[in-house]
């Protein structure tokens, strides 16, 4: 058996004149949890729907377990119902005219399983999402969070090998979303499934994925582990979209050195050419550390956020944002030396 579950190659999807997905390639390994992350309109949902068979691509190929589901050159496009994948929809798509049980049993009934098997599988799936006590409830009488659980149970009940998630948590309120995130991660671990997850919420993407693909205007910006994406953003877009980062303009002066606007020399990692470095707001210390890059400035504004304090610091290279734990507060106007490790000073491409 090949270690690759899903293989997407040079995928192009058009909506009339508009190109939604512009030559995207990636693979998903067995049991891997991959997230497509990006702002709305970046093509992430379209890519996911193309894998499900709900969107007709115009070029490239999609393979699942080595079998071509879509192949432009072979003029092959397997309809959604024959791809054997499963999907959780953004709107949950829980059928309001059925009970919770009937919703979850749907995929099993389509597959003409015996009544006993259906019962076992439905109950197992409902147990996993702690919804068994509501099995006979009409689906239209469920709260948002409960509908979400039913949608999840339905998606895993027929033991699919691949489950696609289209922003499944985006309609929940913040607190419930955080809870469901934990549960979802737990569920992914327990079931041997491969998942592709779509979200515009970078926190969610970093929290629940083995690997993240950052997309923008139909192309892939960067593929990597959550730590990779956060610590070593490759482009300005990734640095800006994932987490919060300061972008400092300047020019490369040698191998691993960078002259910021205003004259300060910074040691960098990352690419070899570019005109900007990114420094995460959380990685900046306000006490000088030996061996670090250092910038002198003064506090222009302080905002208390509770979990952290945000300072805006005026430096020769521009204004930098610094987030610190809410202790040892500095007053507005106070002089300060910003200090950050060369490891966290990432030269951006282009």
């Amino acid at each position: 058996m090949s270690p690759t579950r899903i293989e997407v190659t040079d995928l192009v999807v058009r909506y009339g004149e508009q190109i939604a997905v512009h030559g995207v390639s990636f693979t998903v390994g067995r049991g891997e949890h991959l997230t497509l992350l990006g702002p709305s309109g970046c093509g992430k949902t379209t890519t996911l729907r193309a894998i499900a068979g709900l969107e007709q691509p115009s070029a490239g190929s999609i393979r699942i377990d080595g079998q071509a589901m879509y192949d432009a050159s072979a003029r092959r496009n397997i309809p959604a119902e024959q791809r054997g994948v499963s999907m959780v929809f953004q709107s949950y798509a829980v059928w309001p005219h059925m009970t919770v049980y009937d919703n979850v049993a749907y995929g099993l009934r389509v597959r003409k399983q015996s009544a006993a098997d259906i019962k076992t599988h439905v109950e197992r799936a409902l147990d996993l999402v702690q919804m068994r006590h509501l099995a006979d409830r009409a689906a239209s009488k469920l709260s948002g969070g409960q509908q979400q659980r039913v949608a999840l149970a339905r998606a895993i009940a027929f033991s699919p090998t691949v489950v696609l998630f289209d922003e499944p948590l985006s309609n929940l309120d913040a607190k419930l979303r955080a809870e469901m995130r934990v549960e979802l991660r737990e569920l992914q671990r327990r079931l041997d499934i491969t998942s592709v997850y779509v979200t515009h919420d970078q926190e969610e993407a970093l929290a629940i994925s083995d690997r993240v693909i950052v997309m923008n205007v139909g192309v892939i910006e960067q593929i990597g582990t959550p730590e990779d994406i956060y610590n070593r953003p490759r482009s300005r877009f990734v640095a800006d979209f994932v987490g919060s980062a300061n972008l400092i303009k300047g020019k490369v002066t040698g191998q691993g050195t960078f002259e910021a606007e205003g004259g300060a020399i910074l040691k960098t990692v990352g690419g070899t050419a570019g005109s900007e470095v990114a420094v995460r707001t959380a990685y900046i210390d306000m006490v000088a550390q030996p061996g670090d890059n250092q910038l002198a400035g003064h506090v222009r504004q302080r905002m208390f956020h509770g979990d952290f304090v945000q300072y805006i610091v005026e430096c020769a290279c521009g204004r930098l944002i610094v987030r610190r734990p809410p202790v040892n507060l500095l007053e507005e106007g106070a002089p300060v030396t910003l200090s950050f490790s060369p490891e966290h000073t990432v030269l951006l491409q282009g």
């Binding site: 309809p79 119902e81 798509a93 749907y106 389509v110």
Partner: protein
């Protein structure tokens, strides 16, 4: 899983072909015939020309003048009534507004045909109830006579003008109350707010309704038929009807007039649509607001009186007059002279042709509604969900019969099926086909409302779960559509039972239906029997309506 045969494109293609055949073919025949200047019964025409169109202006100019005159009067009355009632029922605190709003719909369901009969009983010369009372109290001559230009317009306004009320109150309801409130907060008085904010915002809605109603009035048929022909006042619709009755029938002339009417109405409705979609006037944001009703103080009772007066003129008096008439041997309002009897109902239900007509109408209603909803549900799905290329064109095709006056469509079908070598002219089959075609816009619009509310991912999810198209339609789409399908079924059933415009041309001696039979009975038998027939028809429609209201209320409860 084993790949099943993909039914979707086959079913879609079949449905599209059927609809194109039903909708476009008759119009093609009609255009051909209107240009026929040789023997008007010859098909295909031997000579082409525009003589039919020229003759219309040469010989029938008074018909065109009548048409415009009556339509203008009817439109002005309908808009005045509609605006007043819409304002009272959406912006003031008159008691029982919801009930009154339902009442406003009733005249429309009673149909202009029944309305015209009723008003001929109420306000006919000499024997009309009002004149009877006038004579009995010693008056000389007639004080009212509905058989005139104004009378025709009056009936059209009362029974077909309801759409003005619906459109104007929709534009009043959709106005964000914050727009008015902010004017008040800025210091504007009630009156100033009304003049500077409310009126300008509602005006486009009123103008739109005016245009729409005027177009409808140009194509109005029933009142002009019942009242106009005895009074020798012809409008374009009755002139079309008349020229098919002459011997030999002048189908060329009728087609030219029908097409001209169609072109004028189509142009006006297109202009209307273009204006409302231009958007600069959009107070309609898609969101329904609950406007804060104004407290009218003591005026409230006056306003309530206005509403009740309308109810009396358009519902209570007509129905009462018809009921009284139908239960007497000779219709009279002077109760001491009345001879009460149920003989009219017995005659209506026992007399062969009438009983057959009632049976046929009910049968056609059941059949067309049942076949229709299936076809229409498929169409709606194809148009809004299937994403096949050209679904926009199909939508246009399906909505097309709406732009064609019923009467003209009936004429087109008549001419088409006289010449298509399938012998269904003069049978119920042609009527069924005609009903199915003219009901397409109604059914598709009703069902589309439901389909568009259904989240697309409900269907997609079924596919991803492994369901094929047929399985998905059966287990997800159709069950979700069920309430909408029932509502559409009842609406189509009602529309079939009251259908007049297309039926008059397509009815044959072996295929009678109720509405044209009522017209025929009015012309040949007594008012009393006609009233009984009209009430039987109205009763059927009202029964269906009651079920519909019950049903939709239950449905909305279930859906929320």
């Amino acid at each position: 899983m084993k790949p099943g045969f993909n039914w979707q494109p086959v079913v879609s293609a079949a449905v599209v072909v059927v609809v194109a055949f039903l909708v476009l073919l008759p119009i093609v025949f009609l255009v051909g015939e209107s240009l026929n200047v040789g023997d008007s019964m010859a098909f295909p025409p031997r000579e082409y020309g525009i003589a039919n169109y020229i003759a219309m202006f040469d010989e029938d100019i008074n018909v065109l003048v009548n048409t415009v005159e009556i339509a203008v009067m009817a439109t002005i009355m309908a808009i005045l009534i509609g605006f007043t009632l819409a304002w009272i029922l959406t912006r003031t605190n008159v008691p029982g507004r919801e009930l009154l709003e339902r009442l406003m719909e009733l005249p429309y369901y009673m149909t202009p045909l029944v309305g015209a009969l009723a008003w001929s009983v109420i306000a006919g010369p000499k024997s009309g109830f009002v004149n009877q009372l006038w004579h009995a109290s010693g008056g000389k001559g007639d004080i009212v006579d509905v058989y005139g230009h104004f009378g025709i317009a009056w009936i059209m306004a009362l029974f077909e003008g309801t759409v003005a009320f619906v459109m104007i109150s929709a534009s009043m309801k959709s106005m964000d109350p914050a727009l008015e409130e902010s004017a008040r907060v800025m210091g504007a008085s009630k009156l100033r707010t009304m003049l500077t904010v409310t009126l300008p915002l509602v005006m486009p809605g009123v103008l739109g309704a005016t245009l729409f109603v005027f177009a409808e009035m140009l194509g109005s048929f029933a009142a002009a038929l019942v009242i106009g022909i005895p009074a020798r006042i012809y409008v374009i619709t009755t002139a079309i009807w008349d020229s098919t009755l002459s011997y030999p029938p002048d189908y060329g002339r009728a087609s030219a007039m029908g097409l001209s009417l169609f072109v004028v109405m189509f142009g006006m409705l297109t202009f209307y649509r273009w204006r409302i979609t231009k958007g600069s006037y959009a107070t309609i944001t898609g969101k329904a607001f609950r406007p804060r009703p104004m407290d009218m103080g003591r005026l409230t009772w006056l306003l309530l009186g206005v509403c009740l007066l309308y109810g009396a003129l358009a519902v209570v008096m007509p129905l009462a007059a018809l009921i009284m008439t139908s239960l007497q041997r000779f219709a009279t309002v002077i109760l001491s002279q009345a001879e009460w009897t149920i003989a009219n109902y017995r005659t209506a239900l026992e007399l062969g042709p009438i009983r057959v007509a009632i049976g046929n109408s009910l049968g056609l209603g059941f059949g067309v509604a049942s076949v229709g909803v299936v076809l229409m549900a498929l169409l709606v799905w194809i148009i809004y969900r299937s994403r096949i290329r050209g679904s926009g064109a199909i939508e246009y095709l399906v909505m097309f019969p709406q732009a064609v006056p019923r009467l003209v469509f009936g004429l087109a079908l008549l001419w088409a099926w006289l010449n298509i070598p399938i012998p269904i002219y003069g049978t119920l089959w042609l009527l069924a086909l005609a009903y199915l075609t003219v009901m397409l816009p109604l059914g598709v619009r009703t069902l589309a409302g439901v389909v568009l509310q259904i989240d697309k991912s409900l269907e997609e999810c079924a596919r991803v779960c492994g369901a094929g198209w047929v399985y998905q339609m059966r287990t997800v789409t159709l069950p979700l559509l069920r309430p909408g399908i029932l509502a559409a079924w009842l609406l189509i059933f009602m529309a079939c039972v009251r259908e007049l415009g297309a039926s008059v041309f397509l009815m044959g001696p072996d295929a009678r239906v109720i509405a044209p039979s009522i017209v025929a009975a009015f012309a040949s038998s007594g008012t009393e029997l006609t009233a009984a027939m009209a009430l039987i028809q109205t009763g059927t429609v009202v029964l269906a309506l009651v079920i519909l209201f019950r049903l939709t209320r239950g449905v909305t409860k279930e859906m929320t």
